[in-house]
């Protein structure tokens, strides 16, 4: 259970972990990290990212979902993900790693929920560390109205 009065961390053994500073959540809530993929999330990636051509982005088979219940974080979370074998192989063959996060991108006239590459803070042979901004969380993606962030690791040819 995440408490507003202390920092916290949740780990999914062999997959990754997410941590947050004090006051990230306005009230107590449960935070989950899941290795996850669905028809909707795959379609979301494939229809908003360039996947074809010499510089197309190739996503991992499974993504990650971070759920913060009914409370949206007010501060960025720190996320560490262990690289799945297919991504490790791609990196070893000279490709570059990217972290794609789904963001609500819209105005009063439109709604886009598209995947965007975010900055990598630290990359090792086994894992990647990055910052997950509160804007990545949306309650519109699941029927429970839980705030969730959707992440895919992907690789592409170095330019």
């Amino acid at each position: 259970m995440a408490s507003p009065r202390q920092p916290g961390e949740v780990e999914l053994v062999k997959y990754g972990k997410v941590s947050w500073p004090i006051s990230t959540f306005s009230s107590p809530t449960e935070v989950h990290i899941q290795s996850y993929s669905s028809k909707e999330s795959e379609e979301g990636f494939d229809s908003t990212v360039i996947t074809e051509g010499p510089f197309g982005f190739q996503r991992a088979e499974k993504g990650f979902r971070i759920i913060t219940g009914k409370i949206i974080p007010s501060e960025p979370l720190q996320v560490t993900l262990f690289l799945p074998p297919e991504i490790e192989n791609q990196i070893q063959s000279g490709k570059q790693l990217y972290v794609f996060v789904e963001f609500l991108n819209g105005s009063d006239l439109e709604v886009h929920d598209s995947f965007m590459g975010v900055d990598i803070q630290k990359l090792t042979k086994e894992s990647v560390l990055f910052r997950l901004d509160p804007e990545a969380f949306s309650y519109e993606r699941n029927v429970d109205s839980f705030y969730e962030a959707m992440i895919y690791l992907a690789t592409a040819q170095k330019k």
Binding site: S47, T48, L104, G106, E110, G117
Partner: protein, 280 residues
């Protein structure tokens, strides 16, 4: 003969569009053309946290390439949402028919909500030139009405969040500055500069129109009296087209065309102009 040579050179200089030296630093020097054939009117501006592009008013007008480049994506995006979007009341989301271009200068641009069939002649890998028609605007995808959603990255992939910038600030606006030497018999030869760069001079007692293309924001226009017949004072008037708004050094607006001054030889007068970011 000398007169004719001088006149010829003046004609050449006035036919070339002059550009400002210091564009918006966010554009990283990548100055682009219009994404639409029609005048630009913003319906919803860029927001670095929630709206990573600009919504321009457009309903069926031609979408045009902002720079030379290559088509890297002809996409279709329309998906349902599990919950209704609060801002729009829409139960689905997506760019509809969209295009991504990679430009030769390293920038990328994205155009969304296009008419589905209007891009059927396009293929990925196809080369396009600045100003070339790509398709037509429409209301495909998750929208409440027709418009163009335009995204711009001056530095690489437009799909990377850190690259996305307010492309509207990088679109050059065109207009004219007309400088007239007021007293034909004893008038002066005036030089016009934009942001410190000379655009040319009028010649004694002459009127000249200077076409300019500059990005939105504040710019400096300077008039300098180079010489007069009598070596004393010379009067001039300055007129700007509607794309520009004149402000004085304190930032207050003054009326366009109300800029009659006289100068001593060697003296100069600088005015500030604001280039509208919302229309031509």
């Amino acid at each position: 003969m000398k007169f004719f040579i001088e006149f010829y050179l003046l004609l050449i200089s006035s036919s070339v569009l002059a550009m400002a030296n210091e564009p918006n630093p966010n554009c990283l020097g990548k100055i682009i053309g219009y994404p639409l054939k029609n005048p630009l009117r913003i319906l919803s501006a860029f927001n670095p946290h929630s709206h990573f592009g600009i919504d321009y008013e457009s309903n069926g007008e031609s979408i045009i390439a902002v720079e030379d480049g290559e088509i890297t994506k002809i996409g279709w995006d329309l998906r349902s949402l599990a919950n209704t979007n609060n801002r729009t009341g829409l139960e689905y989301q997506g760019w509809g028919r969209y295009l991504i271009l990679r430009h030769h200068n390293g920038a990328e641009s994205l155009y969304a909500h296009l008419e589905k069939e209007s891009v059927e002649q396009l293929r990925t890998g196809m080369k396009v030139a600045r100003g070339e028609t790509l398709g037509k605007s429409d209301s495909t995808g998750a929208v409440t009405g027709p418009h163009l959603h335009f995204e711009f990255s001056p530095s690489g992939s437009v799909l990377l969040k850190r690259n996305k910038r307010d492309g509207n600030q990088c679109i050059e606006r065109t207009g004219t500055v007309t400088l007239e030497s007021l007293t034909p018999l004893h008038g002066g030869d005036f030089e016009l500069s934009l942001d410190g760069r000379s655009l040319g001079n009028t010649g004694i007692g002459m009127k000249k129109q200077f076409p300019i293309a500059i990005t939105p924001g504040r710019h400096e226009i300077t008039v300098k009296l180079l010489k007069t017949v009598e070596g004393k004072r010379g009067g001039y008037s300055l007129e700007l087209s509607e794309a520009f708004e004149v402000v004085d050094t304190q930032g207050a607006t003054v009326s366009v065309g109300d800029n009659q001054h006289d100068l001593r030889v060697g003296d100069s007068k600088t005015i500030l102009i604001d280039v509208f970011s919302n229309n031509r």
